[in-house]
Amino acid sequence: MLSVLLLAQLQGCAFDENLNSHDLRGTVKIPLAATQFLYGSGDDAQILDDIRALGPLYLGVYPGIEEGLYPYPHPAMGPILSEGQDGNAYPYGGNTVGRFDWACYQQLVCKVSTGRFEDYADIIDFFDNVLEDPIRTLNGEVVGSSTEFQERCFEVEYATGDNEMLFVGERDFRIEGDFLVADVVIPHVPMNDGMKVWGWVDMPSPSYEYSTCDPTVGDTVNYYAESYDLGTNAIDVLNYPGKYIDYGDWVVQVPAEITDPNVDFELVVDFHYVEEE
């Protein structure tokens, strides 16, 4: 009797709800040249080259991509409802490669993405030797060692292991020829034959700020005398991409068309949006 019951229950696992919801899988490729970015202004302006400066790569699935809306291909928009604001692009779904994460110090709010730094020393090295703007505590003391960084993180995040620090660990991108390549999954997308996967990489401004990150929102830290927002990306980045894409960002020129959700897509982020001379 029990066996029959168990068998009947197991049969339930095979029940197909026939939902039109699919996990789209594929790869995104970014030219190695995308690791270069302009840093500083005036006489101090310089071109730096470091993979760790890549902000999140945003991927959206859209009904269509249009030319002419912006200097780069942009998702088709719905009706304009508010003066001065684009129409909503009404994405079917999306995901990112890397996301903003707070790396324990106020100075690092909206400055660190996941999947870019291998460990604490990597972050210290980047800010120390690449940006030449060392990480400092609220008292102005330079953070000089991984141990100090880790200890601070464990304290302020009430954490017990590095596995809780999502901003350090394996990098999202691997180098394949002239490209940085990442595997991506865009979960739970309703299948619409002919829909397009499109996206862009948010690159830092010359003052090392990311246009998709708002430092005044997100979680809040309240730790002794410290009280401030930890920043996160704006909630409508996929609905209004044109609002956030800025000079220096890399944009997909040719979207990937989805006709079969079970076939992997490949996307190349190959258009560098720069200010015309």
Binding site: G78, N192, D193
Partner: protein, 343 residues
């Protein structure tokens, strides 16, 4: 024996299935219209609002007597009835864009508060119970009339439109422009609870003279008389320019007058004849003044039946401006402390 107890318990449990909840909804008997259209209203200035507020319980007649050059009233007070099951009830009216911000306000009857029941340091202002049966609830919506889907006076609609994307998918779009922000962060399309005023600012820039529709959806109709009294007004400027609360519009606790056939009387303009229920203006003012406890102790018929009278021994004295001399004339049968009128 155990089986018999189980059977009895099951039978008792099944009896609960007879409970329909009808007692919490007034009958849709047509005494008051469930759907009305007020027509076009004029936008009111802050000075005129002050004038209206000073009228107290005469607010409704002030609104009927004061119209703009086009004959449109500056405000409206009316009564709505319970809509039949499956039908949205409410009122609609229109106004024209001024080219600037306007503030739409509606206030359903009468005053509601949650009774303070804390055993330690209860908020005395709210320690007397509310009379919930005289409270209604209206949800406010508004947008350009061109997007409105309802039939004024016949059927309530909304401001939803549909956009078809490049692949033929239909996406619902909210064209309504009246958004209220809730007490919790992130609630940007909220509605106030029973008897509370609802209001929102609409920016009509570049739409000077364009027609807007306001929908006052009757969310809950009071149980005491099945009539939902309300006031509505469109104010010049942003809602932030005004203090909007229970006392922005006085006298919305309306009571219809009935003729010899027990039908609601109507005047020569077809409007229902209704007067503000006695002492409700003072109740509204007491709510705004934080004097509900004193008011309810003095005039218990206006407040909850199960109000704890023991608190009245220590309640502050009622200020003179909140006194209601006609109380015992109207509520003598509900308050044993009123001396019966001599024969």
């Amino acid at each position: 024996m155990n089986n018999q107890i189980m059977l009895l318990a099951t039978g008792l449990t099944l009896l609960a299935c007879d409970r329909s909840g009808d007692d919490y909804v007034p009958a849709a008997d047509g005494t008051y219209p469930a759907v009305i259209d007020v027509g076009e209203m004029a936008v009111m200035t802050a000075d005129r609002l002050q004038e209206l507020r000073s009228e107290g319980s005469n607010a409704r007649s002030w609104c009927q007597d004061n119209v703009d050059g086009e004959g449109n009233p500056y405000c409206y007070y009316g009564l709505l009835g319970q809509a039949p099951t499956g039908v949205k009830g409410g009122a609609t009216f229109t106004f024209r864009g001024t080219g600037d911000r306007v503030c739409i306000v509606t206030d359903p009857e009468t005053v509601f508060w949650n009774t303070a029941v804390a055993s330690v340091n209860p908020d005395d202002k709210y320690s007397y119970a509310d009379l919930e049966q005289d409270d209604g609830d209206i949800d406010l919506f508004a947008g350009l009339s061109s997007y409105y889907t309802g039939s004024p006076g016949v059927e309530l609609g909304d401001f939803k439109g549909f956009y078809t994307d490049a692949l033929g998918n239909s996406v619902a779009i909210e064209y309504g422009e009246c958004f209220q922000y809730g007490a919790q962060s992130g609630m940007n399309n909220a509605h106030a609870g029973r008897a509370s005023a609802e209001y929102c600012t609409i920016n009509t820039s570049n739409r000077d003279g364009k027609l807007y529709t306001v929908v006052l959806e009757s969310f809950a109709v009071p149980l005491n008389d099945g009539g939902l009294g309300f006031g509505a007004v469109v104010l010049d400027g942003s809602c932030g320019d005004y203090v909007i609360n229970e006392c922005t519009l006085f006298g919305e606790g309306l009571e219809a007058q009935f003729d010899e056939n027990d039908d609601v009387s109507v005047d020569e303009n077809g409007e229902q004849v209704a007067l503000t229920r006695a002492c409700t203006v003072q109740l509204e003012q007491a709510s705004c003044d934080g004097a509900l406890q004193s008011f309810c102790c003095e005039y218990p018929a206006l407040c909850g039946e199960d109000g704890d009278q023991s608190q009245c021994e220590e309640a502050p004295a009622l200020p003179d401006d909140l006194s209601c001399p006609s109380y015992c004339d109207v509520y003598a049968d509900m308050d044993a402390n009123c001396t019966p009128p001599s024969e």
